[in-house]
């Protein structure tokens, strides 16, 4: 694998539309559950070990070459909130456009054809990683990192939190991010023989509920 290629895919400036989503941080800030760097860190840790683990495992499995249609169904089953399913597909469609332009590949073309309205973002991410010559662990790292970097940057905009503090939150999560990515890559290997049921499915009830609350707001800064 190429470290530089990994940086291109993981770069927040990669034009995949992620900046429009807060990963649940907007609802949590409005409710007062995130109000400073400490509560942001707690939020990010909770998201990493739930939605982040699930996304990282799906991305790793797609990067390994498991059937993306089956993985997309597994992602649907792991996402009870229709608002979050819609956001995941919108993000998947945007990432697909950027990835196909960046790393043209028949695997990406086939996935785009199977899901014209967008596959779940982690499945597209893993397929894009594979197209770029990256491995399962790389894809898992990107998914795990995105699960916390989105809420951290969103909180800077929502609360006017000091960006240095937000970066510190992410930096201190690095060992846990590495652990989640390694676990996801291992689970993906298991799923290759046992099927997508073997992938982990941790979820946060409050993230699902708050996503529905957020979707009902008439005006919001972030799409999710």
């Amino acid at each position: 694998m190429s470290l530089a290629t990994l940086l291109v895919l993981a770069d927040g400036r990669f034009p995949a539309g992620g900046h429009a989503h807060s990963g649940g941080a907007e609802a949590a800030c409005k409710a007062g559950r995130i109000h400073d760097a400490a509560t942001l860190a707690d939020f990010c840790r909770g998201r990493l070990h739930t939605a982040g683990v699930t996304a990282a495992a799906l991305a790793a499995a797609a990067a390994l070459g498991l059937d993306p249609v089956e993985l997309d169904a597994a992602a649907d089953a792991r996402t009870p909130s229709p608002a979050l399913r819609a956001a995941a597909r919108r993000l998947g469609r945007q990432l697909m456009r950027a990835a196909r332009a960046t790393w043209p590949d028949p695997g990406l073309d086939a996935l785009a054809a199977a899901f014209p309205r967008g596959a779940h973002q982690p499945v597209v991410l893993g397929t894009a990683a594979r197209a770029a010559g990256l491995g399962a662990l790389d894809a898992a790292h990107v998914a795990a990192y995105e699960s916390v970097s989105g809420p951290a940057t969103a909180t800077v905009r929502l609360l006017g939190l000091d960006p240095f503090e937000a970066s510190g939150v992410l930096a201190r999560l690095a060992p846990e991010l590495d652990g989640v990515a390694a676990g996801a890559a291992e689970a993906a290997l298991l799923a290759r023989t046992e099927g997508p049921d073997a992938l982990p499915a941790p979820s946060s009830p409050l993230l699902e509920i708050a996503a529905q609350v957020h979707a009902d707001w008439p005006v919001r800064l972030f799409a999710s």
Partner: protein, 263 residues
């Protein structure tokens, strides 16, 4: 010189293993028969009064297991057109064991074509020091209907919770419909009680209703206050998820949902 201690201490007794099995079939007279109703150990089963075509089963009495190291399993198989309701007489307490090893509680439901199952046990209470892994797996034929309630209470009144990991997997027509895992307590990954976890709530639960009629008429997504939501799944099913300060308030929310979406 004192005599040497034995080289090995006797192994602690292995945890309890018990399986309860329920088999429901159409009885040919418009009702449901239970040719298999076999409890074991702390999992005792009683047939209760039928409600129309639906046979009732109660898990009774000594449900205060599982202790650490125990492995309990409940298996229910509803044949074509059979209708079954399962309840429990009391809450289940997850208790610490002597060896510190986790307890396991598995529920496996199998629903054939046109079968209807209501799985409505009382709360699971995660007692301080306990470590329980719950695995619920339901496999449904495409025309089957399922109503399933899960409630978790973290600690008795004023008590810190034990560690609880609960995974719920629902497969319909061979495809995954719902797959989610919850981890709470001191053995759970970080952040479980925080703003992206359960934010200090001590009762949480869900009601799942799978019903083919939702294919044509899916329930709308809806929020029920700040900490509960009705979410239509990617299939003919609706999941109501709720966090509450206590078990009573949680039950009120889920009862209301049951009246709105169940039968």
């Amino acid at each position: 010189m004192t005599p040497a201690a034995p080289a090995t201490t006797p192994a602690p007794p292995a945890g309890l293993r018990a399986t309860a099995r329920i088999g429901a079939v159409r009885d040919g007279r418009g009702g449901t028969a239970l040719p298999l109703l076999a409890g074991e150990g702390p999992l005792a089963l009683r047939r209760t009064r039928d409600e129309g075509a639906e046979a009732g089963v109660m898990l009774v009495g000594a449900m205060s297991a599982p202790l650490g190291g125990d492995h309990l399993t409940v298996e229910a198989d509803a044949g074509p057109g059979a209708r079954l309701a399962m309840r429990s007489a009391a809450a289940t307490l997850a208790l610490p064991g002597r060896g510190g090893e986790p307890a396991r509680y598995d529920v496996r439901l199998s629903l054939a074509e046109d079968a209807q199952v209501r799985w409505l046990p009382e709360q699971l209470v995660s007692v301080r020091g306990s470590d329980l892994r719950v695995r619920t797996r339901a496999e449904l034929a495409p025309t089957a209907r399922l109503m399933l309630r899960e409630e978790q209470v973290l600690g008795r009144t004023g008590e810190a919770p034990g560690t609880l990991r609960a995974r719920l997997t629902v497969i319909r027509g061979g495809r995954p419909l719902l797959d989610q895992e919850l981890s709470c307590g001191p053995g759970a990954p970080g952040g479980w009680d925080g703003p992206a976890g359960i934010a200090g709530h001590r009762a949480l639960g869900q009601l799942l209703v799978v019903d083919p009629r939702f294919d044509a008429d899916p329930p709308a997504a809806r929020v029920l206050g700040e900490f509960a939501a009705v979410t239509p799944l990617a299939g003919p099913a609706v999941l109501v998820t709720a966090l509450a300060p206590d078990a009573l308030r949680l039950r009120e929310l889920l009862d209301e949902a049951a009246r709105a979406y169940g039968w």
